[in-house]
């Protein structure tokens, strides 16, 4: 699903965020990406989302060499990846339903289809009863779950998360991680960047550890 071959990313100011990084994440796999801040986790996710392009090496996602994807085609590529942000990035001027529906509206789904899929996604994250509320009326954990519902509403084959539990207490964090596991169990490839080592150590999944842009350990437990 995700294939990095000797990938380096050097920013314009000369800072090298990733150095000759190689790894492979298989379809249906669930992997954590960890390391100190500045180790290159975010850069790695940005390369997959095509927010940045690699300086050297080859990134392949779902069989497609990302270097071949032209700027104009990036939106269509992104519709196949669910992205969960640390600060969930909900739009506060519209209710929960409309937030979750956003990717469907963007990809031009039929209204009936939108209603069905949004409710299915909200049901999965356990917030079906809150669809009419504004995000500000929800707790931090609930907001994050809305963010996850939005990421999965398009039924993406790949789900990426950048510090999804960064602002949550341990109990809520565990709940969120369980949610990701559930999506993984139905076949979604999941990759989560986090520095919460104690949390992921308890979960039996592959852990990729980065340090200064290099892969220093790759444990499949």
């Amino acid at each position: 699903m995700i294939d990095f071959e000797q990938v380096s990313k050097r920013y314009e100011d000369g800072y090298e965020a990733l150095s000759e990084l190689s790894f492979h994440v298989a379809q249906g796999e669930m992997a954590f990406l960890t390391g100190h801040s500045g180790a290159g986790k975010s850069t790695l996710l940005k390369l997959i989302m095509l927010m940045e392009r690699s300086s050297r090496g080859k990134v392949t996602v779902s069989g497609r060499d990302l270097a071949d994807i032209k700027r104009r085609k990036i939106p269509y590529y992104r519709r196949n990846i669910g992205l969960v942000f640390q600060d969930h990035q909900l739009l506060f001027d519209r209710n929960v339903f409309d937030n979750v529906a956003l990717p469907l509206i963007i990809s031009g789904a039929q209204p009936r289809e939108i209603g069905r899929r949004v409710r299915a996604a909200l049901d999965k994250v356990g917030l079906l009863s809150k669809e009419k509320l504004l995000p500000l009326a929800l707790s931090g954990g609930e907001q994050q779950r809305i963010g996850i519902a939005r990421a999965v509403v398009n039924k993406p084959a790949l789900l990426l998360a950048d510090e999804p539990t960064g602002n949550l207490d341990p109990e809520l964090s565990a709940e969120i991680m369980t949610l990701f596991e559930q999506f993984n169990q139905v076949g979604v490839t999941v990759m989560i960047a986090t520095h919460d080592l104690s949390l992921i150590a308890r979960m039996k999944h592959r852990i990729l550890m980065l340090q200064q842009g290099r892969l220093i350990s790759d444990e499949s437990s």
Partner: protein, 340 residues
């Protein structure tokens, strides 16, 4: 494998439970294209509605923008309406654009009438009225008040006169001048006179006014573009975070652009409506004075309003200005906002 459609096509139909109404066949493809078009129209209607609602959420700020645009549009539109009225007024002087042709005195009535017929046959002539020396004298007696004094004249000092009305449009003074020269060149003609240089001057002034309305229109049109462009730029700036999110969940540039373009259209159209209202208010305010002025000149004059076609044109133009202004702002600022 990425696109749902591709996924469905690549898998055998049996293992792929139909989700929705996708099937093979031209007919259903037609239905799909149709429903996609309907969906597209629905999406646009929704976007248009939402961007209008967004403007109405801050009514005072939006009203300010609308007023600025309205004032900028009112000036050239008002000037054009004024010129149109002046033109209408000058049409009533059409009959005044006549040429008086004085025939030589030695001619007798038959000769004079022959010349009149000749002039009448000229292509540029609409009508010729023959005034015999006797009739001219009678008219003069009646209107001048010297009636009694004239009785002491031995003979009629007045020549026969042909009053020639040109066929051409009075706005085209050059052809009137050409006709004048043509008449002067005829034999047996003492003098031909076009006393209407002031009409010429009026037309020149009106042409100048029209040019000024055009210049004013262009300048203020640019101002409207800039106002709308700047307002849209601020809107883009204030929704920066939202744009980033929307782009990350796969929005195309067109999708991101659309609400701002509609915003521009609404600003333009609102300004156009207000400008129309302003011009009409001014006209109502002036019409009483104009009627009184016309009465003082023993005339009748109804102030022209903006016609239906002109109204629709004004609204269309203002909406297009709005769209263009938004387009400029969006083109310059939107692509700078990328997820980082």
């Amino acid at each position: 494998m990425w696109l749902k459609k591709e996924r469905q096509q690549s898998q055998p139909a049996a293992t792929n439970p139909p989700e929705g109404r996708r099937s093979e066949g031209g007919a259903s493809r037609g239905v799909m294209a149709h429903s996609r078009f309907k969906h597209y129209v629905g999406l646009h209607r929704q976007e248009a509605k939402e961007s209008l609602q967004r403007l109405l959420v801050a009514p005072l700020a939006s009203l300010m923008t609308w007023l600025v645009i309205a004032v900028a549009l009112t000036l050239p539109v008002g000037l054009l309406v004024f010129l149109q009225n002046a033109q209408q007024l000058s049409q009533e002087w059409d009959d005044a654009a006549q040429i008086s042709v004085y025939l030589e005195q030695r001619l007798d009535e038959q000769q004079s009438r022959k010349i009149a017929q000749h002039v009448q046959d000229l292509e540029a002539v609409r009508e010729v009225r023959y005034i015999s020396p006797e009739q001219a004298l009678q008219d003069f007696k009646n209107s001048s008040g010297f009636g009694d004094a004239l009785q002491y004249l031995n003979e009629n000092p007045l020549p026969a006169v042909l009053v020639v009305s040109p066929r051409i449009d009075s706005a085209d003074l050059q052809s009137t001048q050409a006709l004048l020269a043509q008449l002067r060149a005829l034999p047996d003609i003492e003098q031909a006179q076009l006393d209407l240089q002031w009409v010429d001057r009026l037309f020149r002034i009106m042409a100048l006014g029209q040019r000024m309305a055009l210049i004013l229109g262009v300048l203020l049109g640019v101002a409207v573009l800039l106002v709308i462009g700047n307002t849209v730029r601020l809107a883009i700036e204030s929704r920066r975070a939202e744009i980033v999110v929307v782009k990350l969940v796969g929005a195309t540039d067109a999708f991101v652009r659309r609400p701002f373009l509609y915003m521009g259209i609404w600003y333009g159209l609102g300004g156009g409506l207000l400008a129309w209202l302003m011009v009409n208010l001014v006209l109502v305010w002036l019409s009483g004075l104009v009627t009184k002025l016309a009465e003082a000149y023993n005339g009748e004059f109804d102030l022209l309003r903006i016609g239906l076609l002109a109204t629709l044109l004004l609204w269309l133009a203002s909406a297009l200005l709005g769209l263009l202004g938004a387009w400029l702002a969006v083109g310059r600022h939107l692509h700078k906002i990328e997820p980082k």
